[in-house]
């Protein structure tokens, strides 16, 4: 890993996560011969984050296995990386990025791939020892050490990170409570039927939930957390609290440079900002998404990779709008949850598979159109669903019904007359 910084580059990529690295790699695959400079604020090689909340904490995935590309490969493909230094300012008029260490780098094109950060706990007790968040490798190392010593774990927020961590903690024999403001788990991301299933399974694994809960404060008399106080009087015992209450786009640097920011850096379908020399991709951008029927910000590996490819193709002279099918996964204990498409606003749902055996999928429809498929331990269904959603005309409810909700037939584009 290096701190190599060119004074001037054809493409500067701010952020060395999954999106930024993909943009750099795809530029080379597209035959782009100009200089590429990546700048990342973590002092490590680009790495994958998903295992941090799962295999890494269980000791099944090593730090080395997280690294996406070794330094030798970056060198070989002539991708320069300045790692461990933050960018502080974008000077758009001069097309120059300024870094915290006083250096700067000029660009012909700037790709902002600064990602997102965890929303921190602003209420009482956020500063106590034993209160953690999880986003970076450094976070995961710290959390691993805390978990080792912990007996009572409280997770604030029943989203993906919170539940993945709760499953790990329960598996390691900890007493685990999950506190959630909504009335179900993963409420913003999955349908109620999936929420209900995961709640059941986590409860069987020993996790206890408090739904509709308001946290009064994280408490600890001597600088170290001892509990989480809820409105209504209950205090849950805790020597480790993981706060998993969502992410915030790292968009300040763009806003300060006069670019539009609205829950992420605003880009068009080509992932370009209002400044033709500046693009934004991955977690940090707010983009028009055909599957959302509007603008959205997505925090996912799929979005990072596919947007990295789209921006690289455009810079290399092959512009194409972003229209990749959204897909996600979350491994919680022995359950693999996968989603294809976006199920927001669904009005009909069909189950296939065997719920009791924890192997099933739910096909969601809105206004008679197939819009998404959620799968539990049915990875083949997820792959077929992604193919179905990528079809020029995804099946209607009637067509899906006529095909017996057979995803394989639907993926092949076979349409039976209803």
């Amino acid at each position: 890993m290096t701190q190599s910084l060119a004074p001037q580059a054809d493409v500067v990529i701010l952020g060395a996560g999954q999106a930024g690295l993909q943009a750099a790699l795809s530029l080379r695959e597209e035959g782009f011969a100009g200089t590429i400079q990546m700048i990342g604020d973590e002092a490590v090689l680009p790495y994958q984050r998903p295992p941090l909340s799962k295999g890494f904490l269980l000791g099944a995935v090593t730090e080395d296995a997280l690294v996406l590309r070794p330094q030798a490969m970056l060198d070989k493909t002539d991708i320069r990386l300045a790692a461990g230094v933050a960018a502080t300012r974008i000077e758009r008029a001069a097309r120059r990025v300024h870094l915290a260490d006083g250096r700067s780098c000029g660009y012909e094109h700037l790709v902002i791939a600064t990602g997102s950060r965890v929303r921190s706990w602003t209420g009482q007790g956020g500063e106590l020892a034993g209160v953690a968040t999880l986003r970076t490798l450094a976070d995961a190392r710290a959390l691993g050490a805390l978990l080792e010593a912990a007996g009572d774990v409280v997770v604030i927020g029943a989203g993906f990170i919170g539940l993945e961590f709760a499953a790990v903690a329960a598996k390691r024999g900890k007493q685990v409570h999950v506190v959630e403001a909504a009335d179900r788990v993963m409420a913003r991301a999955v349908t109620p039927a999936i929420s209900a299933f995961f709640r059941e399974r986590h409860e069987i694994a020993g996790v206890q939930f408090r739904f509709g809960a308001a946290v009064e404060g994280i408490v600890g008399p001597a600088g170290r957390v001892t509990g989480v106080a809820l409105a209504g009087g209950e205090t849950l015992p805790a020597d480790l609290v993981l706060v998993g209450i969502g992410g915030i786009a790292n968009a300040e640097i763009a806003a300060e440079a006069g670019l539009a920011v609205d829950n992420g850096i605003v880009v068009d379908a080509l992932l370009q900002t209002a400044d033709p020399a500046v693009s934004a991709i991955g977690d940090c951008c707010n983009h028009p998404n055909p599957f959302a029927g509007g603008r959205m910000r997505l925090e996912s590996v799929q979005n990072a990779i596919d947007q990295g490819r789209v921006v690289a193709a455009r810079i290399a002279g092959k512009p194409q709008p972003y229209h990749a099918v959204p897909w996600f996964w979350s491994d919680q204990g022995d359950l693999k949850l996968q989603m294809a498409g976006l199920t927001t606003g669904f009005d009909a749902q069909v189950a296939i598979g065997d719920r009791d055996a924890a192997r099933f999928s739910l096909i969601a429809f809105r206004a008679g159109q197939l819009i998404g498929v959620e799968s539990v331990n049915r990875p083949g269904d997820n792959m077929l669903a992604r193919r179905i959603l990528a079809l020029p005309a995804p099946p209607t409810y009637g067509e899906a019904e006529a095909a017996g909700f057979d995803l394989k037939a639907l993926a092949a584009g076979v349409k039976v007359q209803a």
Binding site: P50, M73, Q302, I305, D331, K336, P379, G380, N382
Partner: protein, 107 residues
């Protein structure tokens, strides 16, 4: 240090020296073997690391799990008897000389 040869869909070889203990997918991705994507990082969530393994090495491979089997049924390129997801093959010295073919498409 097992050596692995990747044949592209037209049969042109690229040989890499991999470390024992890492998956075939990770070794290929880090060496930037064209056509092996590994988008999910080995979480059995994407099937973009599909390869065809030379039958001579079949006996030395770990068995296909039910999840891998299901995913191989839905790969972008046709499934053959020799199809595997390379993230599920951990390289060992016993696999030195392994030869695999990369399919036409992963997505």
């Amino acid at each position: 240090m097992p050596r692995v040869t990747f044949l592209d869909p037209r049969g042109r070889p690229a040989t890499i020296d991999a470390a024992a203990g890492v998956s075939l997918m990770l070794a290929a991705v880090r060496a930037q073997v064209p056509g092996v994507l590994g988008e999910c990082g080995g979480s059995l969530a994407c099937a973009t690391c599909h390869v065809y393994v030379d039958p001579a090495f079949a006996a030395g491979l770990p068995p296909v799990s039910p999840a891998e089997d299901e995913m191989l049924d839905a790969t972008a390129s046709e499934r053959r008897a020799t199809s595997r997801l390379s993230c599920q093959i951990v390289l060992t010295d016993a696999l030195d000389g392994l030869v695999v073919t990369v399919p036409d498409a992963q997505i």
